[in-house]
Amino acid sequence: MLKNVLASKHYVNPLVSMVYLVWSFYMIYSGMGFFVLVASIAISIYLGIARKLTILLLWVALPSFLILFLLYGLWDAAVTTLRIATIALAATTAFASPKPQHTAYMLYKIGVPPLIAYSHLYVYRFLQLLSYALSEAIDAAHGRGVRSRFKILMLLPIPLLVYTINTSTYLAEALYIKYPRREKTWVDKPGFRLVDILLVLYILTIFILYILGHDLLVLKLLTY
């Protein structure tokens, strides 16, 4: 899942995703969650994380729906669950959409100390390596004929440990970014692309319609 985060071609400008986050919460607060839902589903499909998010959402939404259903009945349970799900979706898509390098750049530019601005890059870099190592080690175990998941789990720590030591060069590289003068290799200046413009247009349209008055919205029936 984390393999491609740093290299992915699908991302949103960090400024735009911040605007999107603020807008989402304002819209949900104003009972216009439907439009947030549409936007966040579109973004999650664009980012290619729709399936994972669905699974994640089921874990969040189903239990809360069941509890609310028992307490308040079907209608209230459905609306509240939908709201919770929308909030979760909006937040996840907003945080998952910008490229880490771009976020690091923004944080750095607004004066956040480099060490903090880059620290979330460490996390991405390291998780990326570890998930790669994990899949390689599992493939190797399968290749040697180890079938049972439990046995694989018992054997894995050793190659993983050795892997971490072997890849200390990568880690050293990650640590290297601590030095502010090296920032150029680890940050990217974000630009505005079609996807950003589309998202901003959508946000603005809904927002202006909302300001002009609810009655203009044909889809008002769908709001919750």
Partner: protein, 230 residues
């Protein structure tokens, strides 16, 4: 019996079809051609976006980095573990001797050289008697003698093997069939000699192995001599 039909995976594998049931098949191609990815699809660790994959159930594999497949503190224990996994009885030292590794029996598998580690990883893969063997870059780090050992082991194996490599000399020596891979596509899939004598390898920028060049030169001379005599 391995059958791949119209496999697509992102833009790494493009419409690959392949069947293999007997002998040694080599997938050759430059770095980044998609060889490893194709092997991972065969091994079932990557699901292709499109296409049909039919494989035997038991697939043994030795991957690019052999050090991932070691768990024990000595080479001997590693072989014992492999016998245990396979549910077989065997003498670890005897097996190591077959691979020329017996002098490493009491060393840690993490402290032997890359070539030795690779041979060991291949040995461990073969112990559990899989129905199909995948070897990813098996000759990287092997010296001349180790390559010879590996070749003779592969000859005597008698089960389908798929090798991903760009070591043309070794491929010419051991393989029966060759599939040439370039930018995610299989350009040719044919008997090893047909592939080496076609001009396809030059087209994708591989130098022909000296043996092929010598063979061609000899062939031309023989023909020339025949023509002169007749």
């Amino acid at each position: 019996m391995l059958v791949l039909e119209n496999i697509w995976y992102k833009d790494i594998i493009r419409n690959v079809s392949l069947t293999h049931s007997k002998g040694i098949l080599a997938i050759i191609g430059p770095n980044g051609a998609g060889k490893t990815t194709l092997l991972k699809i065969i091994a079932g660790s990557i699901k292709p976006d499109k296409g049909v994959v039919k494989t035997p159930k038991r697939i043994g594999a030795s991957w690019q980095n052999p050090y991932y497949s070691f768990y024990r503190s000595t080479v001997r224990e590693e072989v014992e573990l492999a016998y245990k996994i396979a549910g077989k009885k065997g003498d670890p030292l005897e097996l190591l001797r077959a691979y020329g590794l017996e002098r490493l029996a009491d060393k840690s598998p993490y402290r032997i050289s890359m070539g030795e580690a690779r041979l060991l990883s291949i040995a461990l893969t073969l112990i559990w008697d899989p129905d199909l063997v995948l070897l990813d870059e098996p000759t990287t780090g092997l010296d001349y003698f180790e390559k010879g050992k590996l070749a003779s082991i592969l000859w005597g194996l008698g089960k389908p093997v798929i090798i991903a490599s760009h070591d043309l000399d070794f491929i010419l020596r051991v393989s029966d069939y060759v599939a040439v891979m370039h930018k995610g596509e299989i350009l040719v899939y044919d008997h090893v000699f047909n592939v080496f004598y076609s001009r396809i390898l030059e087209k994708i920028g591989f130098p022909l192995p000296p043996a092929v060049l010598v063979g061609e030169a000899l062939g031309r001379r023989i023909r020339c001599a025949e023509e002169c005599l007749s």
